[in-house]
Symmetry: C2
Subunit: 524 residues, 2 copies
């Protein structure tokens, strides 16, 4: 552990000699890291020095690269591909042959169990940092300009407050749910909860369900997720600190979305939208892939990928998928690392990696078969490619829904996926021109911005560095107790005053009536 | 009237031959027009053709200029300088020698009387347009790309809906109050009503007052202001149309503010902040003015202006002001058109116009004595000049308050203004360095933007023209009845269901208890 602290001090010394700023990054693994790394490369290209905190069980975040240095923290466990694979299998099993209410409730419970498990596992890293006085000292001595974190897990938030650093989020998720719900007013009457599967136009019954779902999420959060970090805050920051409030107090929220993708909703001055910041115009494909793509002729190419986390599905499902692809005249590129399906057609190329952005931007691309991760959906949107969605878990259904309601995608259930239904879905999106037209309209809207999303994000990160925070963009609201924020105390006070006035008036009337009666009786 | 329609058709023909877009502008007089004209000049420089609707009583909007054409609509009356002068005198009289509660209530009532009078007067123009079938036909035939309006009065909103045009607001005020309150969630627990004189940090009593003030504004709006245009909507649009909803449905809100000026608060995807869009680096002054400024030596210069509308105050007040200025070693430039005060010092230059932006940007400027109009406050902020504020009416106190709470201004009451108090205020701001330091800090924050506010505004106006609206940035919320928006129906339904369940359980328990008793009795 001592060597770790020495390494950190050395890093710090190197950084001090440089003219750019110093950025401490507390990232999240997997596809979240893919995103974060784009910001890191952007910051590096602008002359800033970046230090990334990673655990020694990191499976995606590499040690020291040309654009950043790392501090590696020993932990006993991490979330790995096996953890994710288990979630996929369980989710599919729950969905198979059960009623929709059973599926909904079970998935909700399972999601929270898994989230709790993840939070408990990942909490270890921030505890191990704070329990190491030499590492803490060297982090303090480095005088970083900001801490940049993905607040999906709470460690980065805690560390920023511990080190008193301006805090910038690269965010879509918080421990307590979708990022907006913690920072901006979110009326559940037209803002669907992630996982609800609703759009911004809800029927009365859907609004009732959305409200119930909101209640369930709040209860689960208070009972299981928030306490994981609350204990860390109380122990290492202050016994009176509140994790939720600390989380809300970030200077800048770089939101991985925009309003071509998201349903329009209230937002905040310190929220900057950078949806699609990872998207780029397509580069030429490697020759073998280009040859394969060109061999598709006028029929064009279909791309299938289930993202960074999931490389394979249960074999009965992959057999059905392969069989459906085999029936098509198109060529298919399928990111797949499992056993070769027996039904695989000659038109289908299995790859364990491919340049997704370049294929989606290729003129021959006709269709993207996707699981609905934010990155893939944003890339489809950027390149205007229609989507057949096969959502697996978390926000994937909701991401795809945002394309579907705008007429750019269709969604199929993985649990009931068969050759026939898949083929029907594929052919519908391939042959009904409105899907492509709608995606291209969304693409035009998305690209029509005064500034590229990545440049905007980098500008605002540097803004926070220049001004040592962005307090003037942060509302007072997060410091208020809920009853004050919602004016419950004011309304109760006004009702009490009004009641008192009415009572006094009634008492006076009653007294006057009695007096009248008395006088009347006397007169009588 | 016929000639007006022919003129409009001719305009339209001219416009059809051009490659830029076609913009119909429905502006507001006075300082609002100064703002609007900057947008018009920007749009003109980008090759768009602009047609401005004005009344034949317009006292600020000139007929046809190099950057726009006009259609002049005959009306019987308008709001002129006399109307404004009357408001100033009445406001000062109300404030003099009365208790603060009396002043608050009387000013509130007077403000609404004047607003109602203004709305009724200005409504005539939209009615006269819609009652002229030839003019309407020619406006329709022109196929404008957008209607750009200042929605402070409701005419432009009605016309945009009548002509089915995408609607862009250059906005700070609506007929129903400050613009944000109609478009974004506005919790009154930390968002002070304009006129309340509160900041975003309120005590319990201030929150109670803010809530009461909110109630008063809502009632006044429903009873007096909104009905003025509701009648027009029902007559000319549809019997079922709702003016408030039409007003909320604008595609784009170009808000004349930003969060260096405004207190941070929730906002919306279709709100674009362009505060300070009228500010420019200073140009050299005319030689005589430059000589006067340079003659101030190390003491520097004070600028005093009460804005576009107000050129003079009651003479007893101006005598006090002149006497206070005369005591200072600084030179003073005073925009003033009334009788020369007898107490005027040699150091004070009276002018009926001056290049305000260039003086505020001059290195010799020490202080700005301002009434607190949005334009002047934004210019002081842009150039980092500290302010002594003498607010007269409407939002001016609140504008100045935003500088005061950030330590950049002090505020004096015009009603109790005397040489002594003014002198004290001037000297405090001149000699306490924190005022200038704070204004310069705000200036740095304001100028540190990825894009100039005017360029941002023009980009988004053109965005709406390119995409024929911006429906994807507009929430669903404004179409919902208030009880649905606030989930009142959902909560009542859930309470009813819960109550029913509890009642059924209680009934079953009661039945079971009785059954038990019966059995027990039988057994006994």
């Amino acid at each position: 552990m001592l060597s770790l602290a020495i390494l950190s001090s050395l890093l710090c010394l190197t950084l001090h000699t440089c003219h750019g700023g110093k950025v401490l990054v507390y990232p999240v693994e997997g596809s979240h890291w893919v995103n974060m790394n784009i910001l890191i490369e952007g910051l590096h290209s602008k002359g800033h020095d970046i230090t990334v905190l990673r655990s020694d069980k990191s499976w995606y975040i590499k040690e020291n690269s040309s654009s950043y240095n790392t501090i590696t923290v020993p932990v006993s466990a991490s979330l790995d591909e096996e953890f994710i694979a288990k979630i996929v299998t369980e989710t599919i099993n729950i969905q198979r042959g059960h009623s929709s209410l059973f599926v909904f409730v079970t998935l909700l419970v399972e999601m929270f169990k898994k989230l709790k498990e993840a939070h408990v596992t990942l909490k270890e890293m921030i505890v191990n940092i704070l329990e190491n006085p030499e590492l803490v000292k060297s982090l303090q001595d480095c005088h970083y300009d900001i801490l940049l974190t993905d607040p999906c897990w709470g460690g980065g938030t805690v560390l920023a407050h511990y080190l008193h650093l301006p805090l910038v989020y690269n965010v879509r998720w918080l421990p307590v749910g979708e990022g907006h719900f913690a920072v901006a007013p979110s009326p559940v009457s037209y803002i669907p909860l992630t996982g609800s599967g609703f759009s911004d136009k809800m029927t009365f019954i859907e609004r009732v369900k959305n409200m119930l779902y909101f209640g369930a999420v709040v209860i689960q959060d208070r009972l299981t997720l928030r306490p994981v970090y609350q204990g860390v805050c109380e122990k290492y920051l202050s016994p009176h600190s509140d994790f939720y409030m600390l989380m809300q107090s970030a200077d800048l929220w770089l939101m991985r979305g925009d309003f071509v993708f998201e349903f329009p909703r209230p937002t905040m001055p310190n929220v900057v939208y950078m949806g699609g910041f990872q998207c780029k115009p397509a580069k030429p494909l490697p020759q073998d892939l280009e040859d394969f793509v060109q061999s598709s002729g006028e029929h064009g190419v279909i791309l299938m990928s289930l993202g960074t986390f999931v490389s394979q599905l249960p074999s009965d499902i992959t057999e059905e998928i392969a069989a459906a692809f085999a029936e098509l005249p198109q060529k298919v590129i399928w990111k797949y690392t499992g056993e070769r399906p027996s039904t695989l057609g000659n038109n289908t190329l299995l790859v364990d990696w491919m340049p997704q952005n370049d294929i989606l931007g290729h003129p021959k691309i006709k269709l993207f078969v996707a699981h609905g991760g934010t990155n893939g959906v944003q890339e489809a949107l950027y390149h205007g490619v229609p989507v057949v969605g096969i959502p697996l878990f978390f926000d994937q259904y909701d991401n795809l829904l945002r394309l579907k309601v705008r007429g750019g995608a269709t969604i199929l259930s993985v649990a009931t996926l068969e050759k026939g239904t898949l083929l029907q879905g594929l052919q519908e999106v391939l042959h009904e021109p409105s899907y492509r037209e709608n995606m291209q309209r969304l693409s035009r809207l998305h690209r029509d911005q005064p500034m590229k999303p990545l440049d905007r994000a980098l500008f605002w990160i540097e803004f926070v560095m220049r001004h040592k925070g962005a307090a003037h963009l942060r509302t007072e609201s997060y410091k208020m107790p809920w009853y004050a924020y919602h004016s419950v105390d004011v309304v109760l006070f006004l009702v009490a005053v009004l009641s008192l006035i009415v009572l006094i008036i009634l008492a006076v009337i009653r007294y006057l009536l009695r007096l009248c009666n008395k006088i009347k009786n006397k007169v009588d």
